[in-house]
């Protein structure tokens, strides 16, 4: 039986009069690959912000690796995020004045210690060793996203969290990124991906559908 890595208990998030998430209950085991889908305004981003320790719920609790993070302050959330979460963004968000390898080393630097050799190995795993000394502007969208994945993985996070990771990629690069997710999943990495793209959503082991801030479907796709 896999260890429970994430648990959302009766989680709600309210912005003024808007209830972005309403009484969400969700469990994710270590090594799971979960996709979160739903139309715009369904609460996907709010959910990923809560799981990624970038926000706290209005009510309920978010338990990450056994720790209830819903009552933590901003500084504490930053530390937890640094140690346990690897973030992948739709717009890559690479630092424009740092090379690919330096962008990976930034995550090491904030976590503990920059190590170029290890950063190069991470780039090699996503097939970008040869492009390590290039600036983001010299890389294609797919290459930038692979740097972003290498950066997210460099500190061995407990959860790899993707917010529309293929949203800005063409079909070919989308395929490359999905293949990387497949390999990571096979290596036991826990992956949670928010996506609009059914092709990306469908390859996950489990898919949940959000509508109006509520989980309306939870599909086990590994069967």
């Amino acid at each position: 039986m896999s260890k429970k890595i994430l648990e959302l208990k009766d989680v709600s998030k309210i912005y003024g009069s808007l209830k972005a998430l309403a009484d969400i209950n969700l469990s994710v085991n270590a090594g799971d690959w979960l996709s979160i889908m739903g139309p715009s305004g369904s609460g996907k981003t709010t959910m990923i912000n809560l799981i990624g320790c970038m926000d706290t719920p209005s009510t309920g609790s978010v338990i990450l690796d056994g720790v209830d993070i819903s009552k933590e302050n901003a500084a504490s959330l930053t530390r937890i995020r640094r140690d346990k979460i690897g973030l992948i963004f739709q717009q890559f968000h690479l630092i424009s004045y740092l090379t690919a390898v330096e962008n990976v080393m930034v995550a090491q630097y904030y976590h503990s210690m920059p190590d170029e050799e290890e950063a190069m190995e991470a780039l090699e795993k996503v097939g970008l060793k040869e492009r390590a000394r290039h600036l983001p502007a010299q890389l294609s969208g797919g290459e930038q996203q692979r740097v972003c994945i290498a950066r997210a993985l460099i500190n061995s996070p407990q959860i790899l969290l993707g917010d529309e990771p293929t949203g800005n990629l063409d079909e070919e690069n989308e395929g490359i990124v999905v293949d990387i997710f497949r390999r990571l999943h096979s290596e036991g990495v826990t992956i949670i991906v928010v996506t609009h793209d059914p092709e990306v959503g469908d390859v996950a082991q489990r898919k949940i559908i959000l509508e109006h801030g509520k989980i309306v479907d939870d599909i086990n796709q590994s069967l």
Binding site: T45, N49, G52, M54, D55, A75, T78, R79, R81, R82, D83, L87, F89, Q90, Q91, H93, I95, S96, Y97, L98, E102, M105, V106, A107, Q108, Y109, Y110, H111, S112, M113, P114, D115, E116, E117, E118, L135, R151, D163, E164, G167
Partner: protein, 397 residues
């Protein structure tokens, strides 16, 4: 276990941000460099003004008159001691004067023997019709005797230590003149090289070389007074006077207060003006850096949000931005020091007609000031980092 160095990577990030984003930061560097240029230039001028202005004031005549104590005269040895005591680097001119009564056409006049070269340095404001040289005739005398440039005139007098004989009232003019040419008397024909107009007492004197006068009157060097033009403000002049009184007791120095006080007043006002401009420039630089840093933080919201999303604490992101500020201050400050020297040199050459010395101490001082200004101006913009929420800024589209 990771092998690496946090400091090295920090420097790499800070320098990378400046070097690879140079076009964005050029305005900030320019603002700092211009500020540093004006600051270091004005400070250079501030410290150079006393000397430059002191030299300018020296063109208004001697500022220290040295007299012998009692009835004694000043010997060449004492003059040389005085020169050594004051120091040649401070002396613009030092002219000894020996006054002697002579007769021209049986009328008494005063001839002043002096070092004409030094007198010229002391008194560049004298208007000389003709040229400086042996001999100069005061405008008043030239008018009375109807002397023009190149004219010769005869001076007569009693040699040093000899008794003058009164003109015999029952003798003719020719007989009196013959008597004046006797052994105890001297006479010499002088040529008018220049006519002196000063609007002062000098117009009633004849000026000649002191050594020639000594030879003519048959005596060794004995000066009645020494006029000194010294580069010094009122306090320095007072210190020099005290030193002279202490070390050469046979002399009594008298500072020309009118000149030294005017010099101090003008100097004080000029220095206050320079100080005021410097403060204004520093404030303007600070405002420029502040607005540039504000724009920089706003422009880099995503990058800052990303760093925070990756786990960077506020203080770590802030330290990077301050690091960039420090580096900007160093680059702008360092370039400003050298541009400032060039600026001060041009000002000095145009205003005072003289170059200035490079103040090496200005390099660390200017850099330190501009690093401090940049850091101070960055405090509010950098604190904006705390208001940046990664979840809001990095939201996908």
């Amino acid at each position: 276990m990771r092998k690496g160095n946090r400091k090295t990577f920090y420097l790499k990030m800070v320098s990378g941000s400046l070097i690879r984003r140079a076009s964005r930061l050029i305005i900030a560097v320019l603002a700092i460099a211009i500020g540093a240029t004006i600051l270091s230039g004005l400070v250079t001028i501030y410290y150079d003004i006393p000397e430059q202005l002191g030299r300018e004031f020296r063109s208004y005549g001697a500022n220290l008159i040295v007299l012998p104590r009692g009835d004694a005269k000043i010997t060449r040895e004492t003059l040389s001691k005085l020169k050594n005591l004051i120091g040649s680097n401070k002396i613009v001119g030092m002219a000894p004067y020996r006054y002697q009564t002579v007769k021209i056409n049986e009328q008494p006049y005063i001839i002043a023997g002096t070092d004409l070269e030094q007198a010229e340095k002391n008194s560049p404001f004298w208007y000389i019709e003709g040229e400086w040289g042996n001999s100069l005739v005061g405008h008043e005398i030239a008018e009375t005797l109807n002397l023009k440039l190149g004219d010769s005139f005869m001076i007569q007098g009693v040699k040093y230590g000899e008794q003058a004989e009164a003109s015999g009232q029952n003798l003719s003019a020719a007989e009196n003149q013959k008597r004046d040419l006797a052994r105890q008397n001297f006479h010499k024909s002088l040529k008018v090289k220049g006519i002196v107009s000063t609007g002062g007492a000098e117009e009633g004197f004849i000026f000649t070389d002191i050594d020639e006068l000594d030879e003519l009157i048959g005596d060794t060097f004995r000066a009645d007074v020494i006029e000194c033009s010294i580069i010094a403000d009122a306090k320095e002049l007072s210190d020099i006077s005290k030193k002279i009184e202490k070390e050469i007791p046979e002399l009594q120095p008298r500072a020309v207060r009118r000149l030294t006080q005017s010099q101090d007043i003008v100097l004080g006002k000029l220095q206050a003006l320079v100080l005021l401009v410097t403060v204004v420039v520093l404030i303007i630089t600070m405002i420029s850096v502040y607005t540039t840093m504000m724009a920089m933080v706003a422009e880099r919201r995503r990058e800052i949000a990303l760093k925070k999303a990756l786990g960077a604490e506020n203080k770590l992101v802030m330290s990077e931005l301050f690091g960039e500020g420090v580096l900007l201050g160093i680059i702008g400050g360092a370039s400003g020091v050298f541009l400032g020297f060039e600026f001060a040199m041009r000002v000095s050459l145009n205003v005072f007609g003289r170059g200035i010395n490079f103040q090496w101490a200005l390099i660390p001082i200017t850099i330190f000031i501009f690093v401090a200004i940049t850091v101070a101006a960055s405090i509010i913009p950098v604190r904006k980092v705390m208001d940046i929420h990664p979840a809001i800024v990095l939201k996908g589209e």
